[in-house]
Amino acid sequence: MRIPPPGLTTGVAGAPTVESVTVIVTESLSKRYPRVTALDRLSVDIAPGVTGLVGANGAGKSTLIKILLGLAPATEGTAHVLGLDVTKDGGTIRERVGYMPEHDCLPPDVSATEFVVHMARMSGLPPTAARERTADTLRHVGLYEERYRPIGGYSTGMKQRVKLAQALVHDPQLVFLDEPTNGLDPVGRDEMLGLIRRVHTDFGISVLVTSHLLGELERTCDHVVVIDGGKLLRSSSTDEFTKATASLAVEVTDTDAHPDGTEALRAALAAAGAVVSAGGPGTEGFASPGHVLFVEAAGEQIYDVVRDTVAGLGLGLVRMEQRRHQIAEVFRDADARTGAQAEGSGTAGQDAGRPAPVGGGNGA
């Protein structure tokens, strides 16, 4: 990967932002603890916008954020945030970035307003400005009258909003959001993802958001970085991801005329010119892969082709849905590529065995 010096422009294809200055650059960044390697020669550059950082638990996401905030020294390599060196200008970086931790971090006995005002002052805002910014920020994240009540009585969704507010209250140029959708129900999750999108589009603040659900991030992010075992697996724009892996899952019933409906449909679809596979990438998440067909979604007309073919065969269409991507899929793709590239390097075989179980629990 090309590593530009901080401040220089990087032409990220398709990035919708006007100013294309990198906000984060790391160069062969490594972090080794006595018994584990948390980051292994990670080189990545991240442009303004919403960037997703995906990886399983223990992949090195939190370690990376810690280093980028200047709170932990890297074992080797360099990292720049907003053009500032993390080892020398940690204080300045922390003044300009916001951080929302993964875990609970709110004292229950104070109100959201009091807490966020205090945190604003901790970021260096004068008292009056701290109060004004707190009122503004809490309104933007969707907390109204309840902000005067003690946080202890809040729902998980409201607590997440307070956590987001304390990260945004000092109007940072960049925020790190560590698993912001953790513990939220589907509605809360959608709202939080919408809010994260707005942080960039409406507030003009770049976002680095971590998650272990790729499907969640592809709706929010301009760019996705996948790391595993501290190594960079993939860094590409969300469009590329969707383009490369879009597929339809189709499940049909069996009829008397076609005792094996799935097989009949496969033959018919193949005859109609569609690319079909029985067990697509990442199938282990499905209950009965044998009865699901994966049809490559080349364009809009594929939906009609599937519908007409199923109707023509007289089968019952149980479901037809766009496949949500799972981490395992990306891992598998990436492994195939690194395996091909780094043939004989000795590490490929070890990597190939790893990611398979990761995706299992992450059904999107």
Binding site: E95, P101, H103, R121, G124, P126, F203
Partner: protein, 297 residues
């Protein structure tokens, strides 16, 4: 940036997101803010009404005897205050201990328990700033607690027309003694309560650390005095926080000690007392710094 007009003619302005262009006052300001927030918090200010009760009550209990002594001195026209400035805190050590036990865990265990510490360290302040602000605010709160009754005594003494120079000197010595006590107790209280995120444990541990050594030292001193080993009595005081302060104030600050027979440690012992006090304060600071090395993020 839209403006809607309601039928009543009122305006609803949606001004969208506004960026902040004002000053960012940085690390020193953040440290001061944390100090003042913690100091206010130590008296329940800016917290719930319930949490104001205990610190305010203890503050009252601390000042009440001073008020009574002043009243007695003024009305009986005694030529002296019934108790020296430097000994006041020693007499009321139980109140100070209770206050420390209730407020030190509040100051540090809360941040640990609710994992608020990473939010501080993701901002401009560093570990040393956090520890210094917490240490200074706890010491400040204790100083207010121990110096306020001295102010009452001093004002009363002047009202009773006691000798001005004498009283001012005593008052000054009292302030020095209570400053030393505040630093020492704040350090011990914070170190003990920073060990546990559980507030209840913190309260119990602080009380234990203050009272058990005092009880043990007093008992052994009593036995030593009874057996006639007066020299040992002077040195034994080194082993509990309050007798440490007692030793310093009785040697250098013109007070009389609460040791058996009112014995005052020798000057050499007094120097050791002062050195040990300062070492304990420095040690507490170092331990706190060590404690927070792991607690960040």
């Amino acid at each position: 940036m839209s403006t809607e007009t309601t039928p009543g003619g009122a305006y609803i302005h949606n001004i969208g997101y506004r960026h902040y262009d004002g000053p960012r006052l940085g690390r020193a300001y953040a440290r001061r803010s944390l100090f003042s927030q913690s100091l206010r918090g130590a008296y329940g200010l800016g917290r719930s009404a319930k949490s104001k009760v205990l610190p305010m009550l203890l503050f009252g209990v601390m000042c009440l005897p001073a008020g009574i002594m002043v009243a007695v001195t003024v009305f009986t026209k005694a030529g002296n205050l019934p108790i020296g400035y430097t000994r006041y805190a020693i007499y009321l050590q139980a109140v100070i201990g209770l206050y420390l036990a209730s407020q030190a865990p509040q100051s540090v265990s809360r941040d640990l328990r609710f994992k608020t510490v990473p939010l501080y360290f993701s901002r401009p302040i560093e570990r040393a700033d956090y520890v210094m602000a917490k240490f200074a605010s706890m010491a400040g709160a204790l100083f207010i607690l121990t110096a306020a009754p001295l102010v009452i005594l001093y004002a009363g003494a002047l009202l009773a027309k006691l000798d001005f120079l004498d009283q001012t000197k005593g008052f000054g010595q009292g302030l020095v003694s209570s400053a030393l006590l505040s630093l020492l107790f704040a350090g011990i209280g914070l170190v003990v309560s920073a060990l546990t995120p559980r507030r209840g444990f913190g309260v119990a541990a602080v009380i234990a650390v203050l009272t058990i050594p005092y009880g043990a030292v007093s008992a052994v001193q009593g036995i030593a005095s009874f057996r006639g080993s007066e020299a040992a009595v002077g040195w034994l005081g080194l082993f509990s926080p309050i007798t440490l302060i007692d030793g310093v104030q009785s040697t250098f600050l013109g007070g009389s000690s609460s040791f058996p027979n009112g014995q005052t440690p020798s000057t050499a012992a007094g120097v050791v007392y002062a050195v040990v006090s300062l070492l304990v304060i420095a040690g507490c600071y170092a331990l706190l710094m060590r404690r927070y090395r792991k607690a960040g993020l």
